[in-house]
Every structure is written in C-alpha cells, then in structure tokens.
C-alpha cells in the first residue's frame, strides 16, 4: 500500500491535547523557583513535545527504518557540534599557555 499507515483522528487529537498540556506545564513551572532545575525541566518538556511531534505527526512511528537513521543522524551531529564546541570553550587556558 502506498497510502502508508493512517492514524486515527482520536490519536492526533490526543497528541494535540498532550502538547497543549505540556505547554501549559512549561509556562506554569517558570513561576516556581527550582534553581538550575528550571532549565532542565523546560528542556525535558521541550524534548518530550518534539518527540511526540516526530513520532506521531511526522509518522516516524510507522515509517521506514532509513527514516529513523536520518533522524538519529541529526541528533548525532548535534551532539558532536555541542560537545566539541563546549569542550573547546570551557577548557581554554586549562593547559596553560603553550611555550611557557
């Protein structure tokens, strides 16, 4: 079949509702002082929302394995970008200056 998996209306509305609830939670949580955890919670919620969109709205749950490879590649490249850049900036001066 070329139509692919057809998700039910109910599923799409459930995902939509979950995304709206998570949006409300992420706004609400900023009025509670959790210190550094505020950022962790905000990013955790954003990642959960992104995952819901990718899995259901973008049909990742029902798509070909090659598509999964592409998505994982994106994350892998992001990890390299962030890890190497931050590793560089936060280790500057750690070894002292060359030649001294």
């Amino acid at each position: 079949m070329t139509t692919g998996h057809i998700a039910s209306k109910g599923l799409y509305f459930t995902i939509f509702a979950a995304l709206m609830v998570l949006t409300a939670v992420t706004v609400g949580i900023t009025y509670v002082d959790l210190g550094d955890l505020n950022l962790v919670v905000a990013l955790g919620i954003a990642c959960t929302k992104a995952l819901l969109v990718v899995l259901f709205f973008m049909h990742m749950r029902w798509s070909h394995r090659l598509t999964h490879v592409a998505a994982i590649t994106a994350i892998a490249f992001l990890v390299i970008l962030f890890a190497f850049t931050l590793g560089d900036y936060f280790s500057r001066g750690a070894l002292g200056e060359l030649g001294r």
Binding site: M1, T2, Y12, M20, H59, T85
Partner: protein, 221 residues
Amino acid sequence: MASVDSSHVHHSALQHHFESLEQQKESSIFGMWLFLVTEVLFFGGMFMAYVLYRTWYPDAWLAASHHLDVTLGAVNTAVLIGSSLTMAMAVRAAQLGQRTAQVVFILATMFLGFVFLGIKAVEYSDKFAHHLVPGPNFRFEDATVARQAQIFFSVYFAMTGMHALHMVIGAGLLTWILIGAIKGRFTPEYHTPVELIGLYWHFVDIIWIFLFPLLYLVGHH
C-alpha cells in the same frame, strides 16, 4: 512524467526510474528527512551560540528575557501546535482521498500560520518601540549588562527571524499544495507533496517548541 513507452500499466505519477509508487514515496520521504537533517544543523549552529552566550552572561540573559511577552509567546506556541494538528489532519485527508477535508485543513493550517506571524509582528514592533533592537538605538535599563543584553536580542532576532522566514516559505509551499488539492491532484495512491510539506511544517513547529522556553522562559518569574 508518466512512462508512456512502457508496456505496463503505470500510475501517471510514477516516474520511470522507480519500481513502484511505494518505493518512489519512500525515497521522497527519506530525501525530505535528509533535508531536515541539514535544517537541524542550520538551526543547531544558532542554538549553539545561544548556549554559549547564556552560560557566559546568565544575568544579562535573565534581564533581557524578561522583556519578552510570555503570554504572546505561549499563545503563539498554542497556535503553532494547532497548525501542526490541522497539517496532520490534511495529510490524513489526503491519505483517505477526502478532497474537501484536505482543502479545509490546508486552509486552516495557513490561517494559523498567518496568526502566528501576525503575533510575531506585534512583538517585533514592540521591540522597535522600546529600543530593544540591536544597533545604535539600543537602550537597556541596566547599563552594566546593556552590551550583553544586546547579544541576547541579536540571538533572539536571528533565531525567531529565521524561524519566521521558514514559516513564510511554509505558507508558500502550503499555497502550492492547496492548489493541487483543489485541482484534485492528490489521491490515496499519490499525495507525496502533501506528506513532505507536512514534514517541513512539523519541523518548523519543533524549532519553535525549543525557542519558546529558551527565549521567553529564562529563569523563573
């Protein structure tokens, strides 16, 4: 192009170098995802800049972020998530061959996209009115972090601006599939453009899902 010279009976949408419509569609979806990988890296560079400057200037980031309107940001998040729902429903209508529903949902997606851009325009003009646009007219109440706050607003305009540009391009792409849908080009066998534009639209939604907490909800209020 249809393979007119073939002795087989082919679907008019099937290009000759593909075995079947299914293979053709899988290839298109894979290609779209590869494009989205490059888009992730494109926005990734800006997110990287954001992370670095935020760790360097946490105080300026907090002070500058409080100039953004959380309500407008939250409403826009809801609007965009709503447009993702209507987009998913448009793809579903295409899969089922429901032409009217397809047209209605594509129009709804475009409408919500324009609501988002309208709210964004209100926010941008407010930033201009309050001298919060980086440049010679930038003013910030706390002079000690003014230069660093300017970096926050540079990042803000770069990221939301690129995001808004993606929305405008998305509106153009939606217009294209709207015309196709009205003409009845899309069937349960062939509706790849609707599916691919859907992927693009959801991707743009995901970028905003990260931009909203990172720009509007720094620290606690």
